[in-house]
């Protein structure tokens, strides 16, 4: 833990603060959410790493997708992701968001989430234990340190393609593009 190194703080306070203050939006799409309560309560106590759940995406910087993603929930996931302020990180939790998991051949399950929104890290397993979340978070710290957790930047750069992918699966989207031409 380099939380107490003042030099690093002075160098880039924003990055450091982002690392140690993960406000998480848990997207409870499937069974993965069952692992979250133990991890934030007394047994594993995620708060000691600065991780706390928040209610709205506006206040969050970490998006945890816990479970399979159906076509229907994809719209909600995209919206929520777009509403999060930058910098923001996405972590897919469990097998299902990675490749569909046990629902890989279902007609309405999204098998690869990163076609629609950028995913900064995956925590594999069915289910991953709470410890895996912490390992995932420490990995994310490293990625942030190395500026490799740049999903939100990629989203901005490749927005046209992401939008095209989203429209391909969801049809006409009922919200305007996040980035207009000027914003890009």
């Amino acid at each position: 833990m380099d939380r107490n190194q003042i030099g690093k703080w002075l160098k880039n306070p924003g990055k450091m603060a982002n690392k140690y203050s993960f406000h998480v939006v848990y997207f409870c799409t499937g069974c993965g959410i069952i692992e979250v309560p133990p991890s934030i309560t007394t047994r594993w106590d995620a708060e000691r790493f600065g991780i706390i759940p928040v209610a709205t995406p506006r206040q969050a910087n970490l998006f945890l997708i816990t479970g399979y993603v159906s076509t229907k929930t994809l719209a909600a996931i995209i919206r929520t992701y777009e509403q999060m302020p930058e910098p923001k990180y996405t972590v897919a939790f469990g097998s299902c968001p990675i490749n569909g998991g046990m629902y890989y051949d279902s007609y309405n399950t999204i098998t690869s989430l990163d076609k629609y929104i950028p995913v900064d890290g995956y925590i594999a397993g069915c289910m991953p234990r709470p410890e895996a979340i912490f390992i995932g978070v420490t990995h994310l710290w490293k990625l942030i340190d190395m500026d490799k957790a740049d999903g939100y930047k990629r989203y901005r750069e490749d927005y046209v393609h992401y939008r095209a992918n989203q429209e391909q699966i969801l049809g006409e989207l009922d919200w305007p593009p996040l980035f207009s031409k000027e914003n890009l």
Partner: protein
């Protein structure tokens, strides 16, 4: 400039406006604005003038007098300026309304009669002007038809009861002392008995209490405010209702005299204590009833009642701070309630007459001027520091707390916190939240409607930061009434028991505001988003439905609704019904059968004989 000329201009201006309206509407608008602004100019030139003239002696040989002093000037300038603003506002608000000649005529007539009331130097002039004001107000309240008719009847009946009381009072003064000159009456009254003074105070208090809508007598007000045309609602709530305050000042501190009024009775059973408590009740109950209202103007109307309570408490408490606070609050109340009514009027204008709190929202993007008017208005109504409402309320609170009346102070403070709730609801439901699709394209409020709003907003802030401007005049009023003078500075009030310095509060807020505004600007720039890009748990935001307005304080309504009824209104309605049915049965004695009529004749003879035999009166 003599006072007669002023009144002649005021009254003839009204007629002139009506007549010019027959020629063309532009001419009429011009004349109306010219007259009202001219009156403002004339009255402001009369600042610090002290005159008294007998202008007419043809009414039963009574010398009718006009006089000008600081009290009269204070109210006069307020009356003419607020009316002038409302007239300017009306130019576009009333543009396409029927009978607009009539409307302007009545507005100016009411203006002139109010001016006469405050300038009256004798009670007969006072009464005549009071009555002219009453009936012309009735004619204008009824202007909007439908619901307004009931409101008008309610108003005029209560008003008549009030003026009849006053008539009895005035004539009893006249018969006892042979004069109605206010100054003379005050002199004559000094040696008369306590009972007589109390009688006068009570009978006049009924009149002024009805006009000022003190709690058991308030029932005409909500309907009347809600149903009148908005610019007139503004005048009605701003100045016309406050003629009651003027009346209270007149009867308590000019006619009966300060020293006497404050020593009538003992302890809780003294006149001013009871009046204070009525005022306290008037503050609390209407404020909470206002929370239940769904009609923007009705909500404001209930606040009009509630704020009237502050004035009464301040004036009736009878210290120099309190009286100054009460009088100042009258002016402040006028400023912000006029502003609020004009803002609501702007919404009505733009949305074709909508003022239902449940069907509007998000208008602050479309009507910024009206919104800032509304915001400053409610800030003044709450008494947020830096608005004028704060200063006057502060004066009242302070006098109550240091005058060892914590329960009254509690009522007053509680009223303020109730006010916060309901006026926030007002602002929120009209201006904030989601803008309905149908109001995306609304009529722009024209310049003539925006100018009064801007002027009033500016006034609120000006008097909030530099309360010394009006307080100087008020100080001379209370000194004339026999109170101790206050130590007034331009920025507030100095005293040993607590100084109010608005300027340093302003400086503090300004400095911190500037600092944090700077920080805010320096910090990372934020992206502006549409109202539909909003948190809805990932779902699409429903259009026109994503606004929480209906039953805004639902938990409180569930708790409070059984208790928050206007029981007085119900009581009066029941009395009215009872009188109606009694009247209906009384006329049944005219049966239509001649035999019974002849029987009445025989019975009359019999009763005459009976009376003679029993009491032998002849």
């Amino acid at each position: 400039m003599s006072l007669e000329l002023l009144l002649i201009i005021a009254f003839s201006g009204a007629f002139l406006t009506y007549l010019s309206g027959k020629i063309s509407s532009q001419l009429r608008d011009g004349v109306a604005v010219l007259i009202s602004l001219g009156l403002v100019a004339i009255v402001s030139f009369l600042y610090n003038v002290q005159t008294e003239t007998v202008f007419y002696q043809g009414f039963f040989g009574i010398s009718l007098i006009l006089r000008m002093n600081s009290l009269a000037w204070f109210f006069a300038i307020a009356i003419v300026s607020f009316t002038a603003l409302c007239i300017i506002y009306s130019l576009s608000y009333m543009k396409d309304c029927e009978r607009s000649n009539y409307y302007y005529f009545m507005m100016l007539l009411i203006n002139a009669s109010m001016l006469t009331i405050v300038l009256a130097g004798d009670l007969v002039t006072f009464f005549v002007a009071w009555e002219i004001m009453s009936w012309s107000t009735f004619l204008l309240i009824s202007y909007n038809r439908n619901g307004a008719l009931q409101a008008g009847i309610k108003y005029i009946v209560l008003s008549l009861i009030g003026s009849m009381c006053m008539l009895v009072g005035i004539l009893s003064i006249y018969t006892s002392f042979g004069t109605v000159n206010i100054a003379d009456v005050a002199n004559h009254l000094t040696p008369s008995s306590v009972g007589y003074k109390l009688f006068l105070l009570i009978i006049f208090s009924i009149t002024f209490g009805i006009k000022n809508a003190i709690m058991p007598l308030h029932t005409w007000l909500p309907d009347a405010y809600a149903e009148s045309p908005s610019p007139f609602s503004a005048v009605l709530s701003g100045m016309l209702t406050r003629m009651g305050v003027f009346g209270f000042l007149l009867i308590m501190y000019v006619i009966v005299g300060m020293k006497t009024t404050l020593h009538l009775g003992r302890g809780f059973l003294s006149f001013n204590t009871i009046l204070c408590w009525l005022g306290a009740i008037t503050i609390v109950i209407p404020t909470f009833i206002a929370m239940l209202q769904n009609d923007a103007k009705k909500l404001l109307a209930w606040h009009g009642i509630g704020q009237g309570g502050y004035m009464i408490v301040g004036i009736a408490f009878g210290t120099s701070l309190g009286a100054a606070g009460g009088i100042f609050h009258t002016l402040n109340h006028a400023t912000y309630i006029v502003l609020l009514f004009l803002s609501v009027g702007a919404i009505e204008y733009s949305t074709n007459g909508l003022r239902d709190l449940n069907s509007l929202g998000g208008l602050f993007k479309k009507m910024p001027i009206a919104f800032f008017g509304g915001l400053l208005g409610i800030s003044g109504l709450i008494g947020v520091p830096l608005t004028n409402g704060f200063v006057s309320k502060w004066l009242i609170y302070k006098t109550l707390i240091l005058g060892n009346a914590p329960f009254l102070a509690f009522a007053a403070l509680l009223g303020t916190w109730g006010t916060v709730l309901s006026v926030y609801k007002f602002l929120h439901n009209l201006f904030l939240g989601q803008l309905p699709e149908e109001h995306k394209e609304i009529k722009k409020a024209p310049l003539t409607m925006q100018i009064p709003i801007v002027i009033l907003s500016f006034t609120i802030i000006l008097f909030g930061i530099l309360p010394g401007l009006p307080l100087k005049v008020i100080n001379s009023i209370i000194v004339a009434a026999g109170f101790q003078a206050l130590d007034i500075n331009i920025w507030g009030v100095t005293s040993e028991t607590g100084t109010l310095n608005m300027l340093n509060i302003f400086a503090a807020i300004a400095v911190f505001g500037a600092i944090f505004w700077g920080i805010f600007k320096v910090a990372r720039k934020s992206t502006p988003v549409d109202q539909y890009d909003n948190y809805a748990a990932g779902a699409a935001v429903p259009k026109n439905k994503y606004h929480y307005t209906v039953e805004y304080y639902a938990p409180f309504y569930r708790m409070g609704k059984p208790f928050l009824k206007d029981i007085f209104d119900m009581f009066y309605n029941r009395i009215a019904e009872a009188i109606g049915s009694i009247c209906d049965s009384v006329r049944k004695i005219y049966t239509g059968y001649v035999g019974s009529y002849v029987m009445y004749i025989v019975l009359f003879i019999a009763s005459l004989i009976f009376v003679q035999l029993t009491w032998s009166i002849f």
